[in-house]
């Protein structure tokens, strides 16, 4: 018997190994999403939209219908698909540059309207595909291409807290969480609940994923983990920020154990 890699069923095998750099967190974030799609058995109903930036390299990642747009427009495109065909389960996948900077208005308005879509946003604290420039999520003091002396919060502000913002402007039935690629099982559960929230037609679902970028952070494996697990959580607290009242309960109405 041939041993097969333990990949999610919804991954497209012909395109593996995927196009992301060695050590990139996108692979783990998309693995969690793939496992969630497998767990819910919704592979034939999912539409996957990816944004510009490194996240667009996921355009052939899954064996599902995929669409790629630019600069945060994934959210409105996916919203349109969802409105045209509410049977589909629409996932918008983007980076922090697309979601919080260039395309922030799309995220804000979709969240404000409480659209029944799922948005997954990978936060690696800079613009990775263009060479590591400073982004809204760059940590204070972090050196990037455009902040060679470290980010100065006096001049450029503090890191953007996306899930907190989304949780503040969405309706009651939104699901908002922040996970990290260093905790795959927790991230998978968040993805499952975010997709479940959309399937049940409750409201906007948003998961931010703290991700890694060894190429542009210029870190080795040890420093990559340290940055992800020590420095990033100091500014970005992981966990579920908003859970709909109806979610997290099983059929008997008891609180489900997660």
């Amino acid at each position: 018997m041939t041993v097969k890699p333990a990949m999610p069923e919804s991954w497209r095998l012909e395109t593996k190994p995927h196009k992301f750099c060695p050590g990139c967190g996108h692979g783990i974030a998309l693995r969690a999403l793939g496992q969630a799609i497998d767990e819910l058995g919704i592979q034939d109903r999912v539409v996957f939209g990816c944004d510009i930036g490194c996240s667009l390299l996921a355009w052939d990642f899954f064996n599902v219908d995929s669409v790629q747009t630019h600069h945060g427009r994934t959210t409105p495109v996916v919203t349109g698909i969802k409105r045209a065909n509410p049977e589909l389960i629409c996932v918008a996948y983007m980076g922090d540059g697309g979601g919080y900077a260039i395309g922030a208005q799309h995220l804000v308005n979709a969240a404000g309207r409480n659209e029944r879509i799922t948005v997954i946003l990978a936060n690696n604290t800079q613009y990775a595909m263009t060479g590591g420039q400073m982004a809204p999520t760059t940590l204070p003091g972090q050196k990037t291409e455009t902040s060679p002396y470290g980010r100065d919060p006096e001049a450029t502000g503090h890191p953007a807290k996306g899930p907190e913002m989304v949780a503040a402007i969405t309706g009651e039935d939104a699901y908002v969480a922040r996970g990290t690629v260093s905790k795959l099982p927790q991230l998978r559960r968040m993805m499952v609940r975010a997709l479940q929230n959309q399937i049940e037609g409750r409201g906007f679902s948003f998961v931010e994923v703290l991700s890694t970028c060894p190429t542009n952070w210029r870190t080795n494996a040890k420093d990559t983990w340290e940055f992800l697990e020590k420095k990033m959580p100091a500014h970005f607290r992981t966990g579920e920020l908003k859970v709909p009242a109806a979610a997290g309960k099983d059929e008997d109405g008891k609180k489900a154990v997660h």
Partner: protein, 85 residues
């Protein structure tokens, strides 16, 4: 699935499988291992960088954190059930 040839290593308490055709040599698994029982291999991965292999089969406790940390699903760790030994 050309290129995804598994390299299987039988350890005292389980099996460690690595797919050099998927391993990009990022080293995240090496640092994640709580027992520090992985090291670079002679075998090369997909980008021509060394793949990984378990050096110390005795200390591995089959927790599977290396497999969870791998962005490319290049590692599989299975623990033998009690009855199999």
């Amino acid at each position: 699935m050309e290129g995804f040839e598994p390299v299987t290593r039988e350890l005292p308490g389980g099996t460690f499988v690595v797919f050099p055709g998927l391993c990009k040599g990022c080293g995240l698994c090496l640092e994640k291992c709580p027992k520090r029982c992985l090291d670079w291999s002679e075998r090369l991965g997909i980008y021509g960088t060394p793949a990984i292999e378990p050096v110390d089969g005795e200390t591995c406790n089959y927790c599977g954190l290396c497999a969870l940390a791998c962005p490319d699903c290049a590692i599989m760790v299975t623990k033998k059930k009690r009855g199999d030994a």
